[in-house]
Subunit: 319 residues, 2 copies
């Protein structure tokens, strides 16, 4: 239940869901979200595209359709960097266009360190809102994009690998979760809960879903989709601060099977940017969902675990 | 006309209006805006309240009613400063509550320099949208809050005066433009255009209204509402960089009467935070609007000039 006591507020921050949902009429609710961050790749166009896909992801995670977006810009007043801003905005605008939404303005301020993001507003039928609170024992957990973007972008930042080595991750981060949302719609009410995987990592976002739903889960580390090269970079310590903090926090509610390597633990906690959707779906429809994801340009989706039983939101990670 | 070619987009960034307006149904449009900035006062609660009043102002300027808001936080990961963040969020939340809107979440990132702002979403009947493009020759121009907040907050930042000296400005900046919006509603279609006065100063925001409307205006410098002490601080050079840049830009389209002091010129260009509404209203209803503003807790409103004739957006400033 939202904390705000008004029947029009369908989703607020109380459930740590991805976006706010406010009912306007019997058959229409609006969904609003905002996200922004410092550049995570050097290519400014890619940064803009990633920021837009990331902001719009919260709309898709709720089962909603994006309508409009606003730019959010904090950028140095330096002519050389303003050219990069132009490319960043072009990347953002192109992805908003791919979503079928309209970029209708925004706000910019001077800042020493550049940052970019977007406000996104979408709409959804109030009865078709997918929140993170409906996962049921027996549900399968599906993740739609590979993990490891935090580690890969940290490795590039530390000049351990060139940016050209993480092309697959850049394309993935720039890709809208629109296909995943279409696939969820295709299986209808068999989808019980969804969220997108971003800064808190897979374990953090799964935890929010489990707590909101009052259930526990088991994840199979061996089934996780992972970008090439990520494991080797973890061994070389290309671990972002957020990922290490996520793992510390996750130890409170996660039981790792004895012998599970630290590499796997960090991967499960890796802070993602523009990650995939994490979807709880009835076991009987899980293969339908995987097929629908493949039909909707999301071939990387995998079943990564299941909801085991009612509980306080604990996670068990097996090999 | 918006640049975006879709009948549902009623207002986009093309007219440099305050917020985007998107039509959902025959009788409902949503209005979305975002605004954020670094602290302009030391008192963290006041900063939060000002940021919220400022963000919601764009909703009121369009004739809309606020529905929901999201926090936007960029803050250092420093425990001492996190306490200040708590107070800032409390100030923002209280003002969102005063607006009858719901604070439903947000996004925060680590940043060296603190910044706070909000996304605001409102609704309006599509036929009751007040934009900045409808000003007509003969209209009177009404400004609802005094000018000088940029100069006053700069003087405090430079320790020329204590923050306790600018209490009136802090209260004004923390005050919603809700009363002004109610007053506009009370005079109905006699209001031809409105915008809020913020970072581009009175001249910059007036210029946007004039260009969008295809008209010229005359402003009477002697009629401007001004906070106490501002003129003296301009003389002592308490002029923010944005105000000086605004004046440079304004010289392109503004003719100051011979002998008008630089003090007055800077005041007209002063970058405001959470400034008042600038309203173009038929001459025959201008006194009704002033009376309605007084009835709606906006006693500082004054007639400051008029729309003179069709034109390219030029401003004449007389004494």
């Amino acid at each position: 239940m939202p904390q705000v006591d008004d029947a029009r507020v369908l989703i607020d921050a109380a459930l740590r869901d991805d976006a706010a949902v406010f009912q306007l009429t019997e058959d229409r609710a609006i969904v609003a979200t905002v996200d922004f961050f410092a550049p995570i790749v050097d290519d400014p166009y890619a940064f803009g595209a990633i920021a837009a896909a990331n902001a719009l992801s919260d709309i898709y995670a709720m089962g909603a359709t994006p309508l409009l977006a606003l730019n959010l810009v904090a950028w140095p007043r330096d002519p050389a960097l303003l050219e990069l801003l132009g490319e960043t905005l072009r990347g953002g605008s192109d992805v908003v266009g791919q979503a079928g939404a309209f970029l209708l303005g925004g706000h910019s301020i001077d800042d020493k360190e550049p940052k970019y993001g977007l406000v996104a507003v979408g709409e959804v039928h109030p009865e078709q809102v997918i929140n993170n609170a409906g996962a049921q024992p027996g549900d399968m957990l599906v993740l739609t994009k590979p993990l490891g973007t935090g580690i890969l972008s940290t490795a590039v930042k530390r000049e351990m690998i060139p940016e050209s080595d993480i092309r697959a991750a850049i394309i993935s981060m720039s890709t809208l979760n629109a296909g995943a949302a279409n696939a969820m719609r295709a299986v209808g009410t068999a989808v019980h809960a969804a969220t997108d995987v971003t800064g808190f990592g897979l374990l953090g976002h799964l935890r929010n879903m489990l707590e909101a739903s009052g259930v526990n889960a088991r994840i199979s580390a061996g089934s996780l989709p992972i970008f090439d090269g990520v494991r080797g970079l973890i061994v070389k310590d290309a671990v972002p601060g957020g990922t290490a903090r996520n793992l510390e926090a996750a130890r409170e509610y996660t039981e790792f099977i004895a012998g599970l390597e630290k590499t796997d633990q960090l991967l499960l906690a890796d802070a993602q940017t523009s990650g995939g959707l994490l979807i709880a779906v009835t076991a009987s429809h899980s293969q339908n969902l995987i097929a629908a994801l493949q039909d909707n340009e999301t071939p990387t989706a995998s079943i990564i675990g299941e909801i085991t039983h009612r509980g306080a939101g604990l996670i068990e990670v097996v090999a």
